[in-house]
């Protein structure tokens, strides 16, 4: 085995990494790269890489084809391109937050330079915005005119039809009056009137139907939104949003700028100091002194201020990951010891079985509500609670804005993720090979050594298999929990988009679907790597 050349070492190292991380599809690529049986590798590549890629592309094409053709009243199904645009838009929003944040922190010359550039940009974009607005108005008028033209004959036809029908109805009413008169005069049979009226109501119905038909036509034309109008609206909106963003930037560069605010506070402190020296009455002195202290405090407080970032999609991603991590760690911390206990002790297993069986199928939504009540009770005043003060003071985690909503979302995740890990751990512990236990018996290992040297190592692959399922469940549950609890994260992103109900919402929801899926995929891969690194049977048991 040791007679490998360095190149072979690299090759096999690479192959092993690929294998362990579960990306076996790339195996032939690496082999091909090292020139091993090119024909076979090319075959494998075309079978296991190209074919799936083509299939996915076909799916995308199908999606692209079907999306605009499937109209719902709540909007069109977005095409792949629209979803991509949603990603770009969301990234732009994030970028804008970055810009504003840096603007907020800029000072001195840099700030002035930026003001100059942004001002120029605003002027330029504003001009453009005006142009687009005018264009939009023109198109709007045009569309309205066209629609009016299209509607005009229909409206006329409808009015005419209505008038005709009215006339007909009136004449029929007159006729029926005549018949009733005749009946009263015993000149006609009442049956005739009944006959006539039956006929009349049928005709009225038919007339109404014909009216309705026309009305529907009119409605359809009204519902049609010209594509160019929509495009113009979009274009105008985009630039208008940009202008607004640039103006907000100017705000953050001038009055809203941190250095400016500090300067202002300091200035008022100096002013207060001045009035302190010029004050003569004791009351005035006290007041002036107080105001000096207050101004100083304000200045120091402002200098520590951070830019209040709006939550963008990447922030939501990080927060979701953090929440699921907390929940997962909680779940593992409960599941592994309890699982070991259950695996070792039949009584413990018997005691916990009813609890597991009853609570396992409970929906995450129910847990969320329960934890919301329970967790809430622990944090009567979240802003000053030491746990949150501590967590929000940490460098990376602090930026994620830890609050009780995060805690109970994480608890919900833990509650739902605990079961697979627990059951698998119990199974792993109780199904340690008899031979291994015999070894322990022969060696007369104590409980603790038996646990740490035999049972736990032996059950680790199953424990990790359980943890992997747990993490998958947790990630799925988290999205639902966040949506419901309005704890920042991808779930909230989805829910907010749903609530927004704007024309971009659907695309954003689909975007979230992909983001959630891809992250879920990588989490799973990560767990596979962990699982393989602890399994001693070369990972044969894992998929």
């Amino acid at each position: 085995m040791s007679d490998q050349t360095p190149i072979e070492k690299i090759k096999y190292g690479l192959l092993k990494t690929i294998d362990v991380s579960g990306f076996k599809v790339f195996d032939p690529v690496v082999r091909l790269f090292f020139g091993e049986e090119p024909r076979k590798q090319l075959g494998d590549i075309s079978r296991y890489m190209i074919a799936p890629i083509i299939f996915v592309c076909c799916c995308m094409l199908f999606w692209n084809f079907i999306a605009p053709r499937h109209k719902t009243k709540s909007g069109e199904v977005p095409t792949p391109k629209q979803v991509w645009n949603a990603l770009v838009t969301n990234d732009t929003l994030d970028e804008r937050e970055n810009e504003k944040e840096s603007d907020f922190q800029l000072s001195d010359e840099q700030r002035e330079d930026t003001i100059a550039t942004v001002t120029a940009l605003v002027a330029e974009r504003e001009k453009k915005s005006e142009e687009l607005k005018a264009e939009l108005a023109e198109i709007e008028a045009q569309c309205k005119k066209e629609q009016g033209e299209a509607l005009e004959p229909l409206n006329q036809a409808l009015a005419q039809l209505k008038a005709e029908n009215k006339k007909l109805r009136e004449s029929r009413a007159a006729e029926s009056a005549k018949i009733s008169k005749a009946i009263a005069a015993k000149e006609a049979d009442p049956e005739k009137l009944l006959e006539y009226l039956r006929n009349d109501s049928e005709m009225t119905l038919a007339e109404k139907d014909s009216e309705k038909e026309l009305k529907d036509k009119i409605k359809k034309i009204r519902d049609e939104e010209p594509k160019r109008l929509k495009a113009a609206q979009l274009a105008s909106s985009q630039v208008a949003n940009e202008v607004q963003h640039l103006k907000k930037r100017l705000d953050y560069l001038s009055t809203g700028n941190r250095s400016q605010k500090v300067a202002q506070a300091e200035e008022s402190a100096t002013k207060a100091l001045g009035s302190l020296s010029s004050a003569d009455s004791p009351a005035a002195i006290l007041a002036a002194a107080k105001s000096v202290v207050k101004s100083e405090q304000r200045a120091s407080k402002i200098s520590e201020q951070e830019y209040p970032r709006a939550a963008t999609i990447w922030f939501q991603v990080w927060r979701s990951l953090f929440t699921v991590f907390v929940g997962f760690v909680l779940a593992a911390a409960i599941a592994i010891p309890v699982g070991i206990m259950c695996g070792l002790n039949r009584i413990a297993m018997a005691c916990l079985t009813p609890i597991i069986s009853v609570f396992k199928p409970v929906s995450p939504v129910v847990w969320l509500l329960i934890f919301q009540i329970i967790v809430g009770a622990f944090f009567p005043n979240p802003d000053t609670h030491p746990l949150f003060v501590f967590l929000n003071g940490l460098p990376w985690i602090g930026a994620l804005n830890v609050n009780p909503a995060l805690i109970f979302s994480a608890c919900t995740v833990a509650m739902c993720a605990v079961w697979p890990a627990l059951v698998n751990t119990a199974l792993g512990v109780s199904s340690v090979e008899k031979d291994h236990l015999n070894v322990a018996k022969v060696l007369r290992l104590g409980l603790w050594s038996r646990l740490t040297k035999i049972i736990i190592p032996s059950s680790l692959p199953l424990v990790f298999a359980g943890l992997r399922i747990s993490l998958g469940v947790g990630w799925m549950v988290l999205i639902a929990a966040e949506a419901l609890s309005s704890s920042d994260g991808l779930g909230k992103f989805v829910w907010d988009e749903y609530q927004n109900g704007s024309s971009h919402s659907f695309a954003n929801i689909l975007l979230a679907c992909f983001v959630i899926g891809i992250i879920g995929f990588f989490l799973d891969r990560f767990m596979i790597v962990l699982q393989r690194s602890v399994s001693f049977d070369d990972g044969a048991a894992t998929v």
Binding site: G75, R222, Q244, P382, D383, S486, E497, G501
Partner: protein, 429 residues
């Protein structure tokens, strides 16, 4: 500088809101920097529903929130979650509409030929709906309609509208907390954003909700707004800015600072040029259309916010007072508004037992804090941000009696019992 006067107890705040256009004063106060000017760092967070919003205010997660006018009152008297909530600022007037499904609309037109034009005469009463309701009842069913929350203005408005035409919307009793007792139309709680889809799927046949969800129904052609709450009661109070009593007691100066910023935001929203055109609304719509605020399409928000309202695609009407944020001294916390909500709670059985006249006054005074408002307003007046006429300085907190209701019944906040007894349907004391 204004902030030199106020010794802020707390300068970093979190406010909650629901994705409705009438959260505008809070959003504008943040985005236009009015909070900043007061030295406040404010985070504005969307909430999934009214219940959670209230819970988050009570548990301290939020410092304050955009609330239904009925919410502070109901919480204070203990209908639903009990907590002493107070308000010193009314966010807006009007802004709601009642939308029915296309199907129901057609039947209403059938019943009332006068509606069969592109621009029917307003206000449309529920009279033409009555046969539809009756038909359903004869078939052994009840017409289902949606409203947003048991103590929401929407609930009281749609009940008022139905009851005026003799349709019984159901009573709340101590056992029936859904308010279905004796109902001819069942009103169930549906979160605003779900209204259009619930209407489209046929779960409900109509709803009463704030914007942009009525305009959304028009834009998507899934329903027809038949009336706005402006027609039901001209210039009725809609949302308030609520905080807990404990918070208000702990942070009196911060509270004043917040109200100052809100007043300026309201004033900004209602600013007009000489011709009476609202000048800042388009910018406000742009801001509200951001995904982290209301997030609906700019065009949809613009419809109602800029003084127009689409009843059908072909029926765009001017409604300059559809959203009022500052005019008519509306942001002042009127006791009479509180009393009106109390009378409605009593009328529909949410308050199960008869209360004396004084109780209405006392309860309103527990919830509405005009002193905070006046303090804030006087500071703004001193700095020249508002005019003297913007604020009712010498009022006793009760608006003059008004008959601006769809049924013309007079409401005098000082005579709650008489007002209750003047209605046909509902509890009488």
């Amino acid at each position: 500088m204004a902030q030199d006067e106020l010794d802020l107890e707390k300068d970093s705040l979190k406010f909650g809101f629901i994705k409705l256009t009438d959260c505008a004063p809070i959003v504008i106060a943040k985005e236009k920097g009015f909070f900043e000017t007061e030295g406040l760092q404010v985070e504005v967070i969307a909430q999934p529903n009214w219940k959670q919003l209230l819970d988050n205010v009570i548990n301290g997660e939020l410092d304050g929130a955009h609330m239904l006018s009925g919410q502070p009152i109901a919480a204070t008297i203990g209908f639903g979650t009990k907590a002493h909530i107070v308000t010193a600022y009314t966010l807006d007037l009007n802004g709601n509409g009642i939308t029915v499904s296309n199907d129901v609309w057609e039947q209403m037109v059938e019943n009332e030929p006068a509606l069969d034009t592109e621009t029917p005469q307003h206000p449309i009463s529920a009279a033409s709906l009555k046969p539809v309701v009756q038909e359903k009842l004869d078939a052994g069913e009840k017409l289902q309609m949606g409203m947003v929350f048991p103590v929401s203005t929407h609930n009281y408005e749609i009940r008022y509208w139905l009851a005026t035409s003799g349709i019984h919307p159901g009573m709340y009793t101590s056992e029936d907390i859904k308010g279905f007792t004796d109902a001819e139309v069942e009103l169930s709680v549906t979160p605003p954003p779900q209204m259009p889809s619930a209407l489209e799927s046929g779960t409900i046949s109509g709803y009463c909700v704030g914007e942009p969800w009525n305009q959304q129904a028009v834009a998507k052609s899934i329903g027809v707004p038949v009336t706005t709450n402006y027609d039901i009661w001209k210039n009725n109070p809609e949302k308030v800015f609520g905080v807990t009593k404990a918070w208000a007691d702990e942070n009196p100066n911060t509270h004043v600072a917040v109200v100052k910023a809100l007043i300026r935001a309201g004033k900004w929203l209602d600013a007009t040029d000489e011709s009476g055109k609202l000048i800042n609304r388009e910018e406000a719509c742009r801001i509200l259309a951001k995904p982290n605020y209301v997030g609906a399409d700019y065009e949809v928000i613009k419809n109602s916010m800029t003084g127009f309202f689409y009843f059908q695609k072909s029926d765009k009407r001017e409604m300059p007072d559809f959203n009022v944020f500052f005019k008519y001294q509306c942001s002042y916390p009127w006791y009479s508004d509180g009393v009106w909500f109390l009378t409605q709670m009593r009328r529909w059985g949410q308050i199960p037992e008869a209360k004396p006249k004084e109780w209405y006054d006392e309860t309103a005074k527990k919830v509405y804090l005009p002193d905070v408002y006046k303090d804030a307003a006087s500071r703004l007046l001193k700095d020249g941000w508002i005019a003297k006429s913007d604020v009712p300085w010498d009022t006793d907190g009760y608006r003059p009696p008004t008959k601006d209701f769809i049924d013309g019944i007079e409401y005098d906040g000082k005579k709650p019992i008489e007002y209750l007894n003047s209605h046909t349907i509902g509890n009488k004391d």
